[in-house]
Symmetry: C2
Subunit: 589 residues, 2 copies
């Protein structure tokens, strides 16, 4: 049926309607060889550690910890990712990024290391084109945020507000929450995603009930009940379960299309029994859909998978995109995948399902348009600390200036047992943090959904410190950036939504520091009781990470706190109005 087609085609040559974007030539001309906090330009991953250098010293071919990332497609020596955070010699802070990335590929930046001009480098598709557009078409905003102080960058809501308001009429089903789950135990090697150690299985041909269990499967009915009990006892709304569904024996690194079906549990995971148990305990199970980046497979099965979720009481899903994309030749950050993530946000909204996406393109404020898209990973998360050279202590002081400019991050903080040799002697990996810094992250790394990522057993070893995670809010109506310097330190105070309660997080890089914090943002004349979770005097992220002091004192808006942060450490504080009894019981700071 070619002839009419040709006719139409010819008519189309007259008026621009459908066109291919072969390249974008946007440039950002900078005034000097600024200091930058960069990760290598890449089409498929943003899970790199940051390097701090001047523009002229950028060498993306030595991106830190790159060898720990399987599916990466670097661009070249002088290409870095956006958001790009910079600091000029005049101490101006400059952030270059984009907003409202829809139906278009993500933007990397090529650095001219002589002229300091940045040129857009869009992620191409399988055919080598950048984008396919139909008029009228909008390309994403290109954003430049400049401030004479670092806090000014974090205060900006420009990127969020450049996105469209949501079209959802009813958002009452979207609930900020904290969750625990069968997850960290998988990363530390205590249990496994896979039910069996048999490999080379076929989704539709294998008799999954006949497989020999490896005896280390994490997502068992009994184990999940343990998490449900723990969540219920400590007031957590959600329990994430990874490794519940068939396919994990071959899930990784095969570029396999028919890898998961998203609806068939392993023989030792009883969906109905757990649905009833969770309901009884007032807890919601959080579904996990690891696609293994086989997105054509996921798109075929999404509707059935979401119907399955709703039929079994799930109203939140964590998606995952580990590996090389199928359709083959496409990339995580290309137009086709950008459209996929949005499609997931729209389709889940139809089912009233909340989404947390791991390994997607980095966010650009679309959570304004799709509020059910609660958070993304889209950066180097805490998990890397479990089995790689990890995230340097400065990492969490940089993330808010880069990755978080686009939206909330599911960083999964709250790791109390920081040394991995606790699980296996000889295991070198270690979370680059003190215990109380992990508490501070609940305040410094914003997300409406926060995981208490460590094992219940570990929280039970430190009930006093765990109290902060139980208390800390996830929904806020005021935020104060008290101290900020990317790569060095960050102190943020946030006010619980509709309550005169505040939470403060202060973190530092590998250097110890004293942080002076005037509390003049508090209600004048109001006395507050403060629980201060601080590093012990001899605390140190590497040598002595799990020592801390907890003090309770009375403070008010005239109080100035002096917080001592250990190397790689942090302090977390909860504040609430002091009762008469508090005033008797506790001393002034």
């Amino acid at each position: 049926m070619m002839d009419l087609g040709f006719a139409t085609n010819l008519r189309n040559k007259i008026i621009l309607s459908y066109f291919i974007v072969s390249d974008e030539l946007t440039e950002f001309a900078l005034t000097g060889d600024h200091k930058t906090f960069w990760i290598p330009g890449d089409y498929d991953t943003n899970e790199y550690a940051y390097t701090t250098s001047t523009l002229s010293k950028i060498d993306a071919t030595i991106g830190r910890a790159a060898d720990e990332i399987f599916a990466k497609t670097t661009i070249g020596r002088n290409a870095v990712q956006s958001p790009l955070m910079m600091k000029t010699a005049e101490a101006l802070y400059v952030n270059i990024f984009e907003a409202a990335l829809v139906d278009y590929p993500a933007m990397n930046l090529e650095v001219n290391q002589q002229t300091f001009t940045l040129t857009a480098h869009l992620v191409p598709d399988a055919a080598g084109n950048k984008a396919y557009l139909q008029t009228p078409a909008k390309t994403p905003w290109r954003t430049i945020i400049v401030s004479d102080n670092a806090a000014g960058i974090l205060v900006s809501k420009m990127i969020l507000n450049l996105n469209e308001p949501t079209k959802l009429k009813d958002v009452s089903w979207i609930k900020p929450q904290k969750y625990v789950g069968v997850w960290w135990e998988l990363h530390v090697g205590k249990t496994t995603w896979n039910y069996s150690d048999t490999e080379n299985l076929k989704l539709t041909e294998t008799d999954w009930n006949a497989l020999k269990p490896n005896g280390r499967h994490g997502a068992t009915t009994a184990r999940v009940k343990r998490y449900i009990d723990f969540a219920s006892a400590h007031g957590f709304g959600g329990v994430l379960v990874e490794g519940w569904n068939i396919g994990w024996e071959d899930w990784f690194g095969k570029w396999k299309e028919e890898v998961f079906d998203f609806v068939t549990p392993y023989p030792d995971f009883n969906v109905t029994e757990l649905q009833q148990y969770a309901e009884k305990k007032g807890v919601k199970l959080i579904m996990h859909h690891e696609t293994s980046a086989s997105v054509s497979n996921y798109e075929r099965r999404m509707d059935e998978a979401y119907r399955f979720m709703k039929a079994h009481g799930y109203d939140a899903v964590k998606t995952g995109y580990v590996g090389r994309i199928i359709p083959r030749g496409e990339h995580h950050d290309g137009q086709w995948m950008v459209n996929h993530y949005v499609r997931v946000a729209e389709k889940t909204a139809q089912y009233k399902i909340m989404v947390v996406a791991h390994e997607p393109v980095r966010p650009t404020g679309l959570h304004r348009t799709y509020p059910n898209w609660l958070a993304c990973e889209a950066a180097r998360g805490n998990e890397f600390n479990a089995w790689s050279e990890g995230n340097p202590p400065e990492h969490e002081t940089i993330l808010p200036f880069t990755r978080l400019m686009g939206g909330p991050m599911d960083y999964t903080p709250g790791i109390f047992q920081t040394r991995m040799d606790y699980y296996n002697t000889g295991r070198k990996a270690q979370v680059h943090t003190t215990l109380t810094k992990q508490l501070a992250l609940y305040v410094t790394l914003y997300s409406p959904i926060q995981m208490a990522a460590d094992l219940p057993e570990n929280y039970e070893r430190f009930p006093d410190a765990f109290q902060f995670i139980k208390d800390v809010a996830v929904d806020w109506d005021d935020t104060k950036i008290l101290q900020a310097e990317p790569g060095d330190y960050l102190t943020i105070a946030r006010k619980t939504k509709n309550k005169d309660e505040w939470f403060i997080g202060a973190i530092t890089d590998e250097s110890a520091r004293t942080s002076r914090i005037p509390l003049d943002f508090l209600t004048p004349g109001q006395s507050y009781v403060a629980n201060i979770y601080a590093d012990a005097r001899d605390g140190h992220w590497e040598k002595n990470p799990m020592v801390y002091n907890i003090r309770t004192v009375l403070i008010n808006s005239r109080t100035t706190l002096d917080l001592k942060l250990a190397p790689g450490g942090g302090t977390a504080i909860s504040l609430k109005p002091a009762t008469a009894e508090d005033k008797k019981k506790w001393k002034e700071y």
Copy 2:
């Protein structure tokens, strides 16, 4: 989540489980510079006209009528498609093809024009690989059929039988049938697929009810009722309707992903009213799913589309794949699409839906495994005669030796009004046939589903000739290849399933010929009444195509027929046991 992945990955290097096929080196070493009937090697289309030449003279860069095909990806001067039909100087007939093409790309053939060795050339994917396999894996059969007479090639059932038997328990819902439909009138330009002439529309944003109708839309409720009445009156089981659903204004040549939704009718097409009307008339509507080759879009919507079909009384679908494939970079004949066609066959079977696929990879006998996959186009069909330089008179004498080796073809014969200037003065296109040759094609081009492709109005102009189309069977239990020479002529007799009725089709190329046909395959001693639909003495495909004679005579197994075929002509014969009345009424031949 990289580390476990790597471990798994490493283990995989020990035992071959998942692997990539970078190339296949199969060779067919021929003994000489054989005569071949070839079309250019191509990754995306098989809709070329055949060229007859020796192997050494093949020049695929001048594939005939190639400029009429939009989405083509030719391979090179010396590459041709399989099945490749050849004839040696010693008059040996050689056919090289493949069987059971599943989870693997189609095979083209590169011809060494000095040594006459053919080398497999597989269709690559978007990443440049040929196939992704998991052990245990089977590759398709490579088939060589050799015969000292041309008929021997057509008699072979090897390719069919190299395919797996069906796994379907119940096949009672699969019904061979003849159908009419809103189709040829679209090709001759009488009506249009599109409802409006407005372009640059968006599937989900356009108000389709507010569009200005062009007044020439074919798939209107009234027009479809006319077809239903006609089908009902003349005993046709099905009515195909193309252009019923929104999206046709922009359907072609845009490489557009969100092009059709397969469930939303145009404002002037009333699904429910037509469902009731067809049911009342004892006719089944045949659904049309043109994907515009946006297969990622179709796969997302297939389930909903099939549920929509069943809810509205449709149990057969014609699929279409016109254009460049999405996922972009994939090809019609690559592994990913090969898997898609099979997925459609499997999924439709779950819904008890029969399928006819247009513009898919050419079939390789899979209708044995998927009997609901009734037929494919997958070659240059009759439609090209409506608007292109068309199909030369020899075309249908070659198809059975090439395209049809793999399975039934929905060629859509039965065009009575052969000159297109009948519809628009000055329109040059013409079907390269006489009227009665179109009748013969129902016998010579096997398919369990056959269209009476011309307009009802045209059949009503020639009710005597139309009688053959009404009578001819589509389900057979015996076949005799009476005369065959690829490129020249073909005469086939087929016996109606479970009846002592026969139908004979005899066709020729551009040369007139006399065809002597001994009827010794008939039941000895049985007298048959024969209706012979023959070209008129002065018939000629170009100069005088629509003249014919119809004779009724008595014949038996000792009769030898002399059929005079006009240039580009043919003869069709129906035979059934003579009644006593017949014997009185009609003369012996």
